[in-house]
Symmetry: C2
Subunit: 109 residues, 2 copies
DNA sequence: TGCCACTATTGCGCATTGCACAGTACTGTG
DNA sequence: CACAGTACTGTGCAATGCGCAATAGTGGCA
């Protein structure tokens, strides 16, 4: 089954979680998400999400030069972002519990 | 936070889970999902999902007259639907575990 | 020198899908 | 007859993940 639709609305949360505690840039966020198990996440999705969160005022942003390639645009959580992260995490946990409840009945008629 | 995006790709699974073990019709599926905790699920979403799953060959369908209102269009799982249900459930469980893993690091970064 | 791979970001347009809203229609109550 | 509850259909919109192309810097290799 295609898991891409599962990311809808959750990618924001995943990106915020990755940025929590340590600033990072798009290319690296993609790498970290894939290592975490989100194998199929598209790079354009992550860049888009970062831009959207920044535009929404949840992230700070600054550019850093790199010796190994082009410049990197770092993003970090601000207060809005941290607040959004905890709210989203709570919403996700609750939602996941509801789904688990629905699935528990499967096969039990 | 708006949880509507969280449903993306998961509503199929939720509907399949509700139909597992007992045939049902749209209006009742909506009611059951809301009782299960998916308070905000829209009726048009459920009807659309049922139609889509039927069109995809995962559901059987038959009409039953009702004494309390208009006819009811019942849906039930066939082999394709049951297979889709178990596959989707597995995908969901795995995905949810990945997300939980990402969130576990929050605050510990 | 020229070609290629890896790194890194942006922008365009598309596909999927949940939802609001309107319309149709049947039953029962006042 | 108006209205509420039940029940389904269709239209069009909004959100968002993704494929793909373009741009651009660094370094290796023939």
């Amino acid at each position: 089954m295609d898991s891409s639709q599962l990311l809808k609305g959750v990618l924001d949360l995943a990106v915020l979680a990755v940025l929590d505690g340590q600033d990072s840039y798009g290319y690296d966020v993609v790498r970290r998400l894939r290592e975490a198990g989100l194998d199929d996440v598209g790079d354009a999705s992550v860049y888009g999400t970062l831009r959207r969160l920044f535009k929404a005022g949840a992230l700070t942003s600054y550019v850093v030069a790199s010796d190994e390639g082009p410049h990197r645009k770092y993003y970090g959580l601000n207060d809005v972002g941290r607040s959004l992260l905890s709210d989203s995490a709570r919403t996700w946990t609750s939602f996941a519990a509801t789904m688990d409840g629905l699935l528990k009945e499967v096969g039990a008629g």
